[in-house]
């Protein structure tokens, strides 16, 4: 099958005063057309950076040092800025975590969304106005004409995020990268936005790369999921597989850390240690300092993603517990 987006062995570094930060260290995953792919991990695991790298909008001190990003057969890491300009918005759109800072505070919502429509379609003023109202309706915003006249700060967080989604749709993108779109919102609104995204996938055929740190969100919306740690994918596969038959110790730790009804009255579990800061490359498996099942080989060589069971090439894990070399 032809994937829509393939990220292959992506490496991204940042030059900072404190030294070089290795933000993404060989991330590999792909998004199929019409699917919702979840990229899950804690803060600092490189998932947001990877998305900025895909669209080539890394801040000045960041660089892609290795790897490829294939979209429609073209390697985006090698594309010229003019080519990227044509892709951004029109082919791949992105929405960010905090919608209140993603909207320009001194322009009305209407002028912002119309500007995007006009840039991508060169439609007439009336057609643009019409299309804008349609889009606001499509994201289930009440009273679109009033919203058009409003300034961003006059809208609630949920409404702002819907506007962002409408703006992403405005350009006709096929892939939407959603970086923690619900984290900054209230829990009830979170569900609404997620439902909207799922609905759009069904309705419009939009493919979504969903970044989140919340396994609950993944369980509800994603078809496939990749678990990221320290700039690498440690486990990847269909959501039901990964969540019910999780293999990697990190994934297991993530799920165990979530409070649940069974744990009532007991201490919350947390993974001992803390997320690596990226200033140094950890030898071997990046998780080994915190892993309860660490073996000698884990400290030496980084494990590669291999299929969990021979029959299921879909579910892969990067862990020596499951690799054919080391018998358990």
């Amino acid at each position: 099958m032809t994937e829509l987006l393939t990220v292959e062995n992506l490496h991204v570094v940042f030059q900072t005063y404190a030294g070089t930060v290795y933000a993404v260290n060989g991330m590999t995953f792909s998004v199929q057309p019409g699917e919702i792919f979840g990229l899950v991990g804690e803060s600092g695991c490189g998932k947001s950076v990877a998305c900025l790298a895909i669209l080539r909008i890394l801040p000045g001190h960041g660089r892609i040092t290795a790897g490829r990003v294939l979209f429609d057969g073209h390697d985006l890491t090698q594309a010229k800025e003019s080519e990227m300009q044509a892709i951004r918005g029109r082919q791949i759109a992105m929405i960010f975590q905090d919608p209140s800072t993603s909207l320009n505070p001194v322009f009305t919502v209407g002028s912002q969304i119309k500007r995007i429509i006009r840039h991508h379609t060169q439609a007439s003023r009336q057609a643009t106005e019409q299309r804008a109202l349609e889009l606001l309706d499509e994201v289930a915003l009440p009273d679109p004409p009033r919203i058009m006249q409003a300034y961003p700060h006059e809208l609630s967080g949920g409404m702002q995020q819907r506007v962002m989604i409408a703006m992403a749709l405005a350009s006709g993108a096929r892939l939407l990268i959603a970086d923690e779109p619900t984290t900054a919102l209230d829990v009830t609104i979170q569900n609404q936005i997620l439902e909207l995204l799922v609905e759009l996938r069904r309705h419009v055929g939009l493919s979504i790369l969903l970044i989140t740190h919340n396994l609950g969100v993944v369980a509800e919306t994603c078809d496939r999921v990749g678990v990221a740690y320290a700039g690498q994918i440690v486990e990847i596969g269909p959501t039901s597989e990964v969540l019910h038959a999780m293999k990697h110790p990190y994934t297991q730790g993530l799920l165990a850390a979530l409070p649940s009804a069974q744990q009532k009255g007991r201490d919350l579990l947390s993974i001992p240690g803390s997320v690596p800061n990226g200033l140094s490359v950890i030898p071997g498996c990046p998780f080994h300092p915190r892993c309860p099942h660490v073996m000698e080989v884990c400290r030496q060589t980084p494990p590669r993603l291999t299929a969990v069971n021979l029959g299921e090439a879909q579910h892969q894990v990067a862990c020596y517990l499951y690799s054919p070399e080391t018998a358990q």
Binding site: L55, I57, Q85, A86, I87, R88, G89, R90, A93, M94, I95, F96, D98, T101, S102, L103, N104, P105, V106, F107, R115, I116, H119, H120, Y151, H153, M164, M167, A168, S171
Partner: protein, 340 residues
């Protein structure tokens, strides 16, 4: 609705501030100096004269009575009388004010017309050649003492290059042969209205050096602050969102970012204006420009407190009014503004 509320609140605040200003100027004029009555009399005052002056000035009254009299006369427009010239200060101010205003406005035009665009372009192409040049220019402009810059310009353009005059607003020849009919008191405008070309040229030449000297600090300030403002705006998430949506760089910079960056720019204009007002004191001394600054410095030298305090008061009131106007403009532009 909301905007009107804001306007009223700001006006009220401004009035409160103005009252407090009058309190402070009163304090400076009457309470601080060691002996205001003696100062009024002049050099080598006798006891008799001091006693008489004390009565005339009402200095024997309790402070709050003095303040009340001061306030009421201010509100009537009576700024008192100069110790040195024994003339009503208001009249003297009227003759000196236009000269200073002309200088200040000319310098602000130069400073902002060059500084604002330079700052924007500098910040937008950060690290480029224009940026490096602007930064050096800006830091030099804010570091050089205004009075020293004036002297340097005089040295170069008058003494060595013999291009520009360095004293007064108009040369004597022109004043005699092509006299100016004062309408606004702004010689450039008056000569232009009257079609008096020789005088217009002469007046303009006289304005150049003082205006540039005065403009320098504001120019540097504008470049620095506009540059910082643009850089900060360009780092905002909504600019990233606009890039991600595929909007072209020119639109992002000159439409989306600029409108946000303008806010602090208004502040810059306010600061430049303060600086020009106060810096004109120094510039007028150097270039013998017959304006408020000269009036003030002469008063300082002769300890003419009524003048010192009146000039301070008038200039400050003016400054408060300009700030109020800038605030209101900002409120009109920025939809988020509330009284903080």
């Amino acid at each position: 609705m909301q905007r009107w509320e804001y306007l009223l609140k700001r006006l009220f605040l401004a009035i409160v501030v103005l009252f407090s200003i009058s309190l402070i100027t009163f304090f400076i004029a009457r309470v601080l100096p060691s002996d205001p009555a003696a100062a009024w009399v002049g050099p080598r005052p006798t006891q008799e004269q001091i006693a008489k002056a004390t009565q005339t000035l009402g200095l024997d009254q309790p402070l709050y009575v003095q303040y009340w009299r001061y306030l009421t006369s201010l509100l009537r427009g009576d700024l008192g009388v100069s110790i040195k010239s024994r003339q009503p200060i208001l009249t003297e101010l009227k003759t000196y004010l236009p000269a200073t205003l002309e200088l200040v406005i000319a310098s602000m035009i130069i400073g902002e017309l060059i500084g604002l665009p330079l700052g924007v372009l500098s910040g937008a192409w950060k690290g480029g050649a224009l940026d490096n040049f602007s930064r050096i220019l800006a830091v030099a402009c804010v570091s050089v003492p205004t009075f020293f810059l004036g002297l340097l310009l005089q040295l170069v353009f008058f003494a060595r290059l013999k291009l520009l005059p360095i004293s007064g607003r108009i040369s004597n020849e022109i004043a005699i042969n092509y006299p100016i009919t004062p309408i606004t008191g702004f010689y450039t405008i008056d000569t232009l209205i009257a079609g008096n070309w020789p005088a217009f040229q002469d007046v303009l030449l006289h304005l150049i050096l003082p205006a540039i000297t005065l403009a320098a600090f504001g120019l540097g300030l504008s470049i620095r602050m506009t540059r910082a403002s643009i850089i900060e705006t360009l780092n905002e998430k909504y600019i990233l969102a606009a890039r991600v949506a595929g909007l072209p760089r020119r639109t992002i910079l000159f439409v989306l970012a600029l409108k946000n960056a303008i806010m602090p720019t208004l502040n810059v204009i306010g600061l430049s204006f303060v600086y020009s007002l106060t810096g004109s004191i120094l510039v007028e001394v150097i270039f013998s420009w017959p304006g408020l600054g000269q009036y003030l410095t002469n008063a300082v030298l002769s300890l003419d407190f009524p003048v010192i305090v009146s000039v301070t008061l008038v200039v400050t009131v003016f400054y408060v009014a300009v700030n109020l106007a800038l605030d209101l403009i900002q409120a009109a532009i920025d939809p988020r503004v509330t009284l903080s």
